[in-house]
Amino acid sequence: MALTDTKFNLATHQRAERKKLATVVEWQSSEGRFYVLQESEPADWSSKFTSYYTKDGDTYTAVTGSTAPTWAASTYYTRVERELLGRRTEDSSIEYNPDIETSTDILGINYADVNKTQPSQEFSPHLILGGSRLSEYLNDKRRRNAISEISNFTAYIITLFIGDTTNGYATERHSDCTITYDSLGGESNVDFPITVHYSNDITVGTIDEFKEGFTFTPETGNVG
């Protein structure tokens, strides 16, 4: 599936509803509901190959053996969990936080150079809700202060106002993102606001459907 037309699928002057910009995060989980095809050899392949899966028909089977099999692209699957962010959140934006260096020449002309962007997105409030697997996962890290374990998320920024059901919807995948929990408490309900720190390790592609079980397809020749 390839998205050949990146124009907005909106009528002239039609506004894009906020719900058409979705952020989904994904993390490796032995109890995850989804499987993602590995496109490249994971860093822990030699030591944790048994946490990956092969697929036969609709059945996924964990890799077994005493030593890691030879890596083969598009053969092994990672078991993951996913969650759409923004339940009970009224307002959230991706802040790109550009690091800008400006200068002015002797003619008074201004120049601006962007050294880098450090995109992040805060979700506040982010209430503790029954059924939220991400909150359960992050709360476990919080209880153990396991801050080394909160930097392995994949984040998908999905723009449902670009694309269609035939060609898929434009999506940016950021690998190895960090999600920080910013506080815990609140008034009448427990709030657990979080911030997604995007890695800028981007793969551009498409997703095929509006469900957490979507398949992400990278664009060929995309610039990461």
């Binding site: 906020r18 989904v24 339940r87 959140t89 307002d91 509006f210 957490e212």
Partner: protein, 165 residues
Amino acid sequence: MDKNEAIITYLLQCPAIQNSPLYFNFINAKDDNKQIVTQANDKIIDKPFIDGSIQKRFTFTIMDYKSIAYTAVVKELNNMSATLVYPNENLEDIIDVQGIIDWISEQEVLRNYPDFGEDCVIDDIKALSDNPSLNSVDTSTNPPLAKYSISIQINYVDYSQVLFN
């Protein structure tokens, strides 16, 4: 399910309601009859979330009609003290109406809510006052009827417009 039907089905679990005739919006008022009156729920308080879900509020009022008695609740014994005359119909009636409010409070603790369908998640249900209001007394009927009211508020999230699930 229509929300009004869901409310009626729900209220029929209430002991203070299930043994009395229950009417919807229109009633030929008689002693111990109860009436659900719908209220316009202002959309301006709807709170949209970024996933497309919307926090909404459903409010309705229960009217409870009770015959009244012109009986003093205290009997003066002397200049220094008085005693409660019991039973007193008016006092017993308001305790009966209060039972609806108490039942609603118990259901909130139990998280027993009306069934608004699979697209809605109810956050809470509560009576808007701790005790019933006495709205009016109709002395043209025989016996005269007091009209008590209780406003009930349900806060819920409507997920029907969510695109991504």
